[in-house]
């Protein structure tokens, strides 16, 4: 019960802040809303017993990424919001129509599936069941250890591929940013 209250409070706050991020007039306000949003997501991770991810969320997102955003806002100097995009070729109702059609489809499928089935079925399982840390003492260290274990064993290949991805991003940033190579 207490868990549910915490979750729903957090969920409402996170979504509300998300809307605030995209609707704030000043870019700096947007970024500040985003910081709070990231911090609340970190709290959500804590309630899910993912302490390590929560700490990383605070360090990397709330700390590093947002500072970068502030740099960009400072450099671009967005005093006022950019003018509204007005493309003469643009037909706004096509987008509305498409969005409506997709929404109708989702609703139709939703109604259809709730009528034709008795209820949601969700089975558990997942990772962790067969990792060697199912019964370790300290929760926090256990969490980090488990994550490291999974990353460097079962998920080693995707993990290494992610490092290639980062290399591509780095080289790409240099290619695009440097005036003359």
């Amino acid at each position: 019960m207490a868990e549910a209250i915490v979750f729903w409070t957090l969920a409402v706050l996170i979504l509300g802040l998300g809307i605030a991020v995209i609707s704030a007039r000043s870019a700096v306000h947007s970024v500040l809303f985003l910081v709070v949003n990231f911090l609340l997501v970190a709290v959500l991770y804590v309630t899910l017993n993912a302490e390590f991810v929560a700490v990383i969320q605070v360090l990397v997102y709330a700390g590093g990424i947002v500072v970068l955003y502030l740099f960009v806002v400072m450099l671009v100097n967005l005093k006022k919001a950019p003018e509204r995009y007005a493309d003469p070729r643009r037909v706004p109702w096509t987008g509305t129509l498409l969005a409506g059609a997709v929404l109708a489809e989702v609703i139709a499928i939703g109604v259809y599936s709730t009528v034709s089935s008795d209820g949601a079925a969700a089975t558990g399982g997942g990772l962790g069941a067969d990792t060697p840390f199912s019964d370790c003492g300290s929760l926090v260290s256990c969490n980090t250890e488990q994550l490291g274990w999974v990353l460097y064993t079962s998920y080693l290949i995707p993990f290494e591929l992610a490092s290639m991805l980062l290399l591509v991003a780095m080289i790409g940033a240099i290619v695009l940013a440097k005036r003359h190579l």
Partner: protein, 489 residues
């Protein structure tokens, strides 16, 4: 050796490891010989050739590696060959184009190889995490490649548009994936299929399915998620456009077939309906929009949207025959589409951008070989009998009829007829219009090689398609066995 890994895991990863090593070596070679672009080109071609040889070496293997994250089976091998052949053709058509545009080649080839690496993982991934990281590696490489012509505004526009829309669509895709993870508690496709086997549906699953279809629909540029395609295709450097429309599309189809047919067989009724509508709308809108284009790259963009619609028929059929038909079509599509883009890339000269239909005027008088090659590609794209495109269409048609989707087959045929109009228009310009100004068209040896390979491919598989049919059938037969063994782990 990390726990849970054996030497076999790394042995079966050989193609990916070779490609990664080769890509890094390309950077080193570029640094050591900054003024020798042939060295970089040679290294790139060598890497692709060696990787291709390693992939072909695993023909007939059917196993899962890396704790059930990757499959090395006929299906993966088939797609890996498609991807590597398209990368090879793309690289061959690049050097003369890059020289005219006066851009550095080193990082360009590195990024092409990295995009290829991502595609290899998309072809063999049987776990949402592997598939997603593969997709992301490919996508990031393409975002940069699309904007590689920095002084060119259209190239910048292409890059920014592709990046922003790509990021949104990736978010949508991830949301769908995370909902499936929430519903099943696993990211393995086999595990998902097992967990969902009860057949009970819920609102959460439907929502996840719609999000997944939308996210993948963006990657194959299916209507209504196609808005980015014409602008990006037009603005990106022509060889990159070619690779984007063939390699990226093939790898995304590999991912779609894996996820939906292997991972979500119990929801088949739902996604079949979604893809049915998507296929019908995609081919119709793509073909009708292509008719009015005066820019060849835009026309080919809409035509490639239409072709995505055709290939979706194989997904809708959701049978072994359907999978085989999609494989056959993607294979022949490599040659005809890359060939057409090679001709467009060839038209780029110092004083001519060469991507308007009128730039093709009188091509037959100036370069008969190029004109005849383009004729073959256009006939093949239109699906005229002696060419490979006809065989691809025939198989898709058969798959649709066999699975009882008669109306979809009818829409397919009507669309093929519509598409003939704009393919013939290209031929009319090449033969019947007067010659226009502009400096001489030069066909470099690399470009000539690419054109010859594409022409041979477009004709060979039309005249003698049996080899292709056999391989596609074997790949489709093996399809699914990897996941069921992974699920048993």
């Amino acid at each position: 050796m990390p726990a849970g890994f054996t030497a076999a895991d790394f042995y079966y990863l050989l193609p990916e490891l070779l490609l990664t090593g080769g890509a890094l070596l390309v950077l080193v070679v570029d640094l050591l010989f900054p003024r020798r672009e042939e060295a970089t080109l040679g290294m790139t071609l060598l890497t692709l050739a060696v990787t291709g040889a390693a992939v072909v070496g695993f023909t007939g293997v059917d196993t899962t590696i890396s704790a059930g994250l990757l499959a090395v089976d006929g299906f993966a091998t088939f797609f890996k060959v498609i991807v590597i052949v398209s990368a090879l053709l793309t690289v061959l058509m690049s050097p003369s184009y890059l020289r005219v545009e006066a851009v550095r080649a080193g990082e360009y080839y590195f990024l092409i190889l990295c995009a290829t690496l991502g595609m290899l993982f998309m072809a063999s991934g049987i776990d949402l995490i592997t598939l997603f990281i593969g997709l992301e590696t490919m996508a990031i490489s393409f975002y940069i490649l699309a904007g590689y012509l920095k002084p060119n505004q259209r190239s910048n526009e292409a890059s920014v548009k592709y990046f922003l829309l790509g990021a949104f669509s990736l978010g949508i895709l991830l949301y769908g994936m995370s909902l499936f993870y929430g519903a099943t508690g696993t990211t393995s496709l086999g595990g998902m299929a097992e967990a969902l086997a009860g057949g009970e549906r819920s609102l959460m699953l439907s929502l996840a399915l719609v999000l997944l279809v939308a996210g993948m629909g963006f990657k194959i540029a299916a209507v209504p998620f196609h808005m980015w395609a014409p602008d990006v295709y037009e603005g990106a450097p022509t060889p990159v456009t070619a690779y984007l429309s063939v390699g990226s599309k093939a790898a995304s189809f590999a991912m779609i077939l894996r996820i939906f047919i292997e991972g979500l067989p119990s929801l088949v009724a739902d996604w079949q309906l979604l893809f049915w509508v998507l296929a019908a709308v995609t081919m119709t809108v793509g073909n009708i929009a292509a008719i009015t284009q005066s820019n060849i790259k835009r026309m080919l963009a809409y035509s490639s949207i239409a072709h995505a619609g055709y290939i979706l028929i194989g997904v809708v059929a959701a049978t072994e025959r359907g999978v085989a038909a999609a494989l056959v079509y993607l294979w022949v599509y490599v040659f005809m589409q890359l060939g057409a883009f090679a001709v467009v890339a060839m038209l780029r000269r110092q004083d001519v951008i060469g991507d308007e239909l009128k730039d093709l005027s009188g091509l037959y008088l100036r370069k008969p070989f190029a004109a005849v090659a383009m004729l073959i590609f256009m006939l093949s794209l239109g699906g005229i009998p002696p060419t490979a495109g006809f065989m691809g269409k025939l198989w898709l048609f058969g798959a649709a009829i066999e699975s009882g989707f008669v109306w979809l087959a009818v829409i397919f045929v009507v669309n093929s007829v519509i598409s003939l109009y704009y393919y013939y228009r290209v031929i009319v310009f090449m033969w019947l219009k007067d010659e226009t100004a502009g400096s001489d068209i030069v066909i470099s040896p690399a470009m000539a090689t690419a054109l010859v390979i594409a022409v041979v491919g477009s004709l060979l598989f039309g005249v003698y398609p049996q080899v292709l049919f056999d391989h596609a059938q074997i790949a489709a037969d093996m399809f699914g066995s990897a996941v069921s063994t992974a699920a048993l782990r």
